[in-house]
């Protein structure tokens, strides 16, 4: 018998929680360093060049920001659903459908720039929201499991866009190359400070989502449903409508990511546009402890890891896969540390008593 006793913590002082988190990140970096050394690279050089590669020059900071924007907006979307314990793992698909709707507007309408961009945003958010409405409806009315449902919708959306790209939407002027026509200038988001204005949208959304979840009646209802459906029902809340509204909001935000990526980054629609942001956002949202402000910091940290990983690939010929592995090692450690945030490990008292008796 292992003389360990695990007890659930009642409350954890804030500074202690931060200490445990910091320790886990530090430990994970040490461990990742060991792995890097085993692979035959100097971990100190790898880490310092990752930081330099992500933050060293203005251009690199811009690159990092570019990677943080889609992650942040998607995370905020996922957050709204997770707050309700609705496991929306369909961010990928909602991004794709948002991008699809924005592209449909961009390629088919001829509007002045502000109106064009606004229509694209609306189309993308509505489409992303509708794509999320499907599982939300079945969850609210029949209790259908949303995890699998949203996961499947990802593949439907990606295959659908692939079909468009290789079929009806293939640009005839691309000489047989399967790609969709590039957007006209009116459909491309303007830049500010060297990065498209998605970064301003993202920052504004952080504040809006924070206020929505923490300081509005709807936001409060969402967290009550997340805590306990029974309590919500007892309090007379309309659970179906709360599930559907917050899930559509979640999908709408993911759809917005799709619009931004299509408009400002890819400048068209492609089957690889969602680039796993929908999945990565689940991790970042979770690591941020379902808090909108913390999401900002976690997403920036993640973007630094990704951009740093890209940089060492070029500068040190460290394969991209090493960066992936470092990322997942850090994640495993931080995830594991959650245990120590929630539980306290102590030695069994009776064993001590036994020893004293001897």
């Amino acid at each position: 018998m292992i003389p360990l006793k695990i007890v659930k913590r009642d409350d954890l002082p804030r500074n202690k929680a931060i200490l445990i988190r910091t320790l886990s990140v530090a430990l994970s970096i040490v461990f990742a360093g060991l792995v890097i050394a085993l692979l035959g690279y100097n971990p100190i050089i790898v880490f310092t060049s990752m930081v330099k590669g992500a933050l060293g020059t203005t251009i690199r900071i811009q690159q990092t920001t570019l990677k943080a924007i889609p992650l942040l907006i998607t995370s905020l979307g996922i957050l709204v659903a997770f707050k309700m314990k609705f496991w929306n793992i369909g961010g990928e698909g909602q991004i794709m459908m948002g991008a699809f709707a924005a592209t449909a507007v961009a390629l088919n309408l001829d509007l002045p720039k502000p109106l064009m961009l606004l229509s694209m945003v609306v189309a993308a958010m509505v489409m992303g929201g509708l794509w999320a409405f499907i599982p939300a409806f079945f969850k609210a009315k029949m209790g259908t499991n949303e995890t699998i449902f949203t996961l499947m919708l990802n593949y439907l959306a990606i295959k659908f866009v692939t079909y468009l790209q290789y079929g009806p939407w293939k640009d005839p002027s691309s000489q047989g190359f399967p790609k969709i026509a590039a957007f006209s200038d009116a459909a491309i988001l303007p830049s500010l400070g060297g990065v498209h204005i998605g970064w301003i949208i993202a920052l504004v959304l952080v504040v809006l989502v924070y206020i929505f979840l923490n300081h509005t009646k709807k936001g409060y209802e969402i967290s009550v449903v997340g805590e306990s459906i029974e309590t919500a029902r007892y309090a007379g809340m309309n659970i179906s409508s709360i599930i559907i509204i917050s899930m559509m909001l979640s999908g709408g935000l993911c759809g917005l990511t799709g619009m931004i990526q299509a408009s400002a980054v890819e400048k068209t629609l492609s089957a690889s546009l969602s680039a796993n942001y929908g999945f990565t956002a689940i991790i970042t949202t979770w690591l941020a402890g379902l808090n909108a402000i913390a999401t900002l910091f976690v997403c920036v940290a993640f973007a630094i890891l990704v951009q740093g990983g890209n940089y060492i690939q070029i500068s040190m010929q460290v394969p991209a896969s090493v960066a992936d592995m470092i990322q997942s090692i850090i994640l495993f450690f931080v995830l594991g540390s959650e245990f120590f945030l929630q539980y306290k490990v102590t030695f069994h008292k009776y064993l001590k008593v036994k020893k004293e008796a001897k």
Binding site: L39, T144, M152, K159, I282, A323, D324
Partner: protein, 309 residues
């Protein structure tokens, strides 16, 4: 023509069969492991490298089993012992597995599986059975890996529904608290079956790298792990139905190209949507029917902590 297609559907479905079976065991223990794709990658690359160096097909399969279980062990430690959120942990395992395979795979990129292994995995008709018209052609003129899949399905069905251990496992997935109260070692059952699940996913990955493709290439699994996660629901956690589903989905994955070669032009990408749409419909129908045996294990995706009973 049709027989040839169905026989090819079985080959396309075999990696799915192993991975689906693996995820069934994991979910029966109450754990949703979204790391199937990652564990398949780990099995694919380790199986391939061992095969390349030893020229021994059995060692290659053993390597795949071990590496798949290693990925599952990481997941089990975090979710069973440390009670980390299963969805997040599984996703992280997928990122890890892909990175792991792509790193190890760099040195063997484009290498071809050695001849000794290729010749081990040629179609070997089973005497007697293979001469049954149509059925023999389709099911019993396959390679030994496919036959191993059949055996795994039979053994799993027997284990899950006809043995005491299988009953205990289902009890753990339905209600860990009740299982614990009746004296079942919940953590042990969870660990063993999550690891078994990883081993089977590893084998599914190895089938891709050793038999289907026989050349190492990046993105070799390309989403099959996710199809397997869908198939588990499609098969309502039943190994026999999983076999049917795996071959059906395998068939769908090659249908478009077959039809095109016959002059019928339907986009493979539209056909690719069918398995996912079918799974969604099945998820909806199964919640409507509310039939006990078609439902997910009641404790799926909920961590178990004894003191919270």
């Amino acid at each position: 023509m049709l027989v040839g297609f169905l026989s090819a559907a079985i080959i396309a479905g075999t990696p799915l069969l192993f991975a689906t079976l693996g995820e069934i065991f994991t979910e029966k223990a109450g754990h949703l492991n979204l790391g199937v794709e990652g564990m398949m990658y780990m099995g694919a690359i380790v199986g391939f490298i061992v095969g390349l160096n030893t020229h021994n097909p059995l060692l290659a399969m053993l390597g795949a089993v071990l590496s798949g279980s290693l990925g599952a062990l990481l997941y089990a430690f975090l979710t069973v012992s440390l009670r980390v959120n299963q969805t997040v942990c599984g996703l992280t395992l997928t990122i890890f597995g892909e990175g792991f395979a792509s790193f190890l795979g760099q040195r063997v990129m484009g290498s071809i599986v050695p001849g000794d292994i290729k010749s081990f995995f040629v179609a070997r008709p089973i005497p007697g059975l293979s001469s049954i018209p149509y059925i023999g052609e389709i099911f019993f003129k396959q390679d030994v890996f496919v036959y191993l899949g059949y055996l795994a399905i039979i053994a799993s069905t027997y284990y899950l529904f006809r043995t005491k251990k299988g009953l205990n496992l289902r009890a753990v997935g339905e209600s860990a608290a009740a299982a614990d109260a009746s004296g079942i070692n919940v953590s042990l059952y969870k660990y063993v079956h999550i690891l078994l699940g990883g081993a089977l996913c590893g084998l599914g990955g190895a089938y891709m790298s050793l038999v289907t493709v026989p050349v190492w290439q990046e993105h070799i699994i390309s989403g099959r792990g996710w199809i397997a996660v869908a198939l588990v629901i499609f098969a309502s956690w039943n190994p026999i139905k999983a076999m049917g589903g795996a071959f059906l989905f395998g068939g769908l994955s090659i249908l478009g190209f077959r039809l095109q070669s016959m002059g019928i032009h339907i986009s493979q990408y539209l056909i690719d949507m069918l398995p996912y749409a079918a799974t969604i419909i099945i998820v909806i129908i199964s919640t409507r029917k509310n039939k006990k045996e078609d439902m997910p294990p009641a404790d799926l995706n909920t961590p178990y902590f004894r003191e919270e009973r």
